[in-house]
């Protein structure tokens, strides 16, 4: 499902940087991130916790709040009416309209994402009404959306605490697709769920993509999840994207040493049966308040050369292949 013909991106993040302003210094949570998501594509964003992927998700929705601050960049989306809007620049009322209608967010599959004192119906229709639907239209739309994600309409009258984790996540997905937005952003949508429910939710996302041709940005720390449903994958380390490519390319021939380690560190039966040990990542996880100079991965990299500690690498396509790009001095 890789697209060889270049298309116009529905979502384009351009050189986005976010900092957290502390009392004495600023923490670079996201640094000059460029990402494009195409129509009908699932782009996976993978990285350890603390690498800035959640900050990136919040920033691309234009919802960074103090002490966080966007210090540069743009988030352009192509809307239903084929105009292009920069989420970070539009005025607040338009911004609210763009959210959910053009770019919808799917939170973690936990109870805490839904308001505990409101029925599912209220939580779906209030948003639809504020996006221009009449009351009865909104209710109809909510019913339809629940049906799309295979939920009974009786769920409408339930409170979140009466639902299972998988159902809550389906409700969130139903909400996200109710206005058929071109872009969905799913932030760790299955972390809180058991594997069986995780599978059914991920497959739901795939069928949504098939039904509506939506672009989905899937954020997860789990390489297995990525391998199962992503078309392309972007690897993030310490606030920067270090590698991006189609899922097949990246799994078959990872370029960045960090990506290689991530893939090699996935526990499975294969390595063990032949008596081999997998190798974990040595060193300490990155601290956004004190990034090392040059390539941020160099203190943990076994291939580090002198240049790595002096100069931040830029993106190259070493194989000359379409799509796979890496930010590493080795190439």
């Amino acid at each position: 499902m890789t697209q060889d013909t270049p298309q116009e991106a529905v979502l384009a993040i351009r050189s986005l940087s976010v900092v957290y302003v502390g009392r004495r210094s600023a923490a670079q949570a996201v640094t000059e991130v460029d990402l494009e998501v195409q129509n009908n594509e699932i782009l996976g964003l993978v990285g350890e916790s603390g690498c800035g992927k959640t900050t990136l998700a919040v920033a691309m929705l234009g919802l960074i709040e103090p002490p966080g601050k966007v210090i540069g960049g743009a988030v352009q989306i192509r809307t239903h009416d084929h105009s292009t809007q920069d989420i970070l620049k539009v005025k607040p009322s338009l911004h609210r309209q763009l959210l959910w209608k053009e770019i919808a967010y799917i939170p973690q599959g936990s109870m805490s994402a839904l308001n505990p004192v409101k029925r599912v119906r209220e939580q779906l229709t209030d948003t639809l009404i504020e996006h221009g639907l009449k009351k009865n239209e909104a209710l109809e739309r909510a019913r339809w959306a629940l049906q799309v994600v295979s939920l009974d309409a009786a769920i409408l009258e339930r409170y979140p605490h009466e639902l299972s984790g998988g159902m809550v996540q389906r409700v969130a997905i139903a909400g996200a697709i109710s206005m058929q937005p071109p872009v969905l952003v799913a932030d760790e949508p299955t972390t809180a769920l058991d594997v069986v429910t995780q599978r059914s939710i991920l497959q739901e996302l795939v069928s949504i993509r098939e039904k509506f041709g939506s672009a989905i940005l899937l954020i997860s720390h789990d390489m297995g999840v990525m391998a199962q449903i992503a078309d392309r994958i972007a690897v993030m380390y310490a606030g920067r994207i270090v590698e991006i490519g189609s899922i097949h390319q990246v799994f078959a021939s990872p370029l960045h040493p960090y990506t290689k380690k991530l893939i090699n560190a996935i526990p499975n039966a294969r390595g063990r049966e032949s008596g081999e040990r997998l190798i974990g990542l040595g060193g300490e996880s990155p601290n956004i308040w004190r990034h090392p100079p040059g390539c941020r991965f160099h203190p943990r990299c076994e291939f580090a050369i002198e240049r790595c500690s002096q100069q931040a690498p830029v993106f190259t396509s070493p194989n000359g292949s379409s799509g796979q790009r890496v930010a590493c001095h080795l190439y």
Binding site: Y20, A27, A29, G50, G52, T54, T55, N287, I288, W289
Partner: protein
């Protein structure tokens, strides 16, 4: 002690405490009389003059001297009540939170009961039956009514602390219940225990002054509340000796302010929720 609230509150409170302790000495140095609290040294409710800057009280004493002596008494009532209330409250809260089960249910209903029922009428009934209106008795009496708040916070804290995995880890280290209480739970509770002492003390000082205003109390224990209440009763506000109300009121309010500042500071210092971690994103 990098917390400014804790520092300012603590220093200011220290100042107030020293002032209160030095009160009698100051009073003696101000007056030519052998006993600065001599009755009928002046006519009752004599207006303000150079000699008596806030007038005289209903017994003809120098009201300033009564104030200078009274600070110590008011703080003393608060201190006794604070200690008594905290001891009781910590005991009840600890047993309820640590033992759990039915003991917890019973103690919780009891605590809630004392928390909800208005205490002032009860205190009034009890205090009129007190023969000897002295610091210890009143402090004890007021302390008996300030434990429910302490018990409630301590119970909640102990309950939440004893559910934490570090208590499980202590059990795996073969520590017994006593060691767990002393080493694992009490250190985390200390700020709350101090919070309770000062909370109960403030409550008791408030209630004592309230009782005086309601006309219950005696000149035996000339606390700030007593001075205020008698002056107010005599029409101090319209009668030109408002200082007899304002000075004690100011001192009490300032004390409460300090204790509150200390409490807020402690909360900020020790509440892990408000702390930032090294890897905070």
């Amino acid at each position: 002690m990098r917390n400014p609230k804790l520092l300012i509150g603590g220093l200011l409170f220290l100042g107030l405490l020293i002032f209160a302790l030095a009160g009698p000495t100051i009073a003696k140095s101000r007056t030519k009389l052998k006993d600065p609290l001599q009755i009928s040294a002046y006519t009752p409710y004599q207006a303000v003059s150079d000699e008596i800057p806030i007038g005289s009280d209903q017994l003809g004493r120098d009201a300033m001297a009564v104030f200078l002596y009274g600070m110590r008494l008011s703080l003393g009532v608060g201190f006794v009540a604070g200690i008594v209330g905290t001891l009781l409250g910590v005991l009840v809260g600890f047993v309820a939170g640590f033992v759990g089960g039915n003991t917890d249910t019973i103690l919780r209903v009891l605590t809630d009961m004392f928390l909800v029922v208005p205490t002032l009428p009860l205190l009034m009934v009890l205090s009129i039956s007190v023969d000897k209106w002295d610091l210890l008795t009143i402090g004890l009496l007021l302390g008996l009514f300030s434990w429910p708040f302490v018990a409630r916070t301590v119970r909640a804290q102990v309950f939440s602390l004893s559910q934490r995995p570090f208590v499980d880890l202590a059990r795996l280290n073969n520590e017994n219940s006593l060691e767990i209480i002393v080493q694992e739970l009490i250190p985390g509770l200390l700020p709350y225990i101090f919070l309770s002492v000062s909370g109960a003390a403030v409550g008791a000082m408030l209630a004592e002054a309230g009782l005086q205003i309601l006309g219950i109390g005696s000149g035996n224990l000339a606390t700030l509340g007593y001075l205020m209440a008698k002056a107010m009763g005599a029409g101090a506000l319209g009668g030109g000796f408002a200082g007899q109300v304002l000075l004690p009121a100011g001192y009490l309010t300032l004390t409460f302010l300090c204790l509150n500042l200390i409490n807020m500071g402690l909360d900020e210092q020790f509440n892990p929720r408000l702390q930032t971690t090294a890897h905070g994103e």
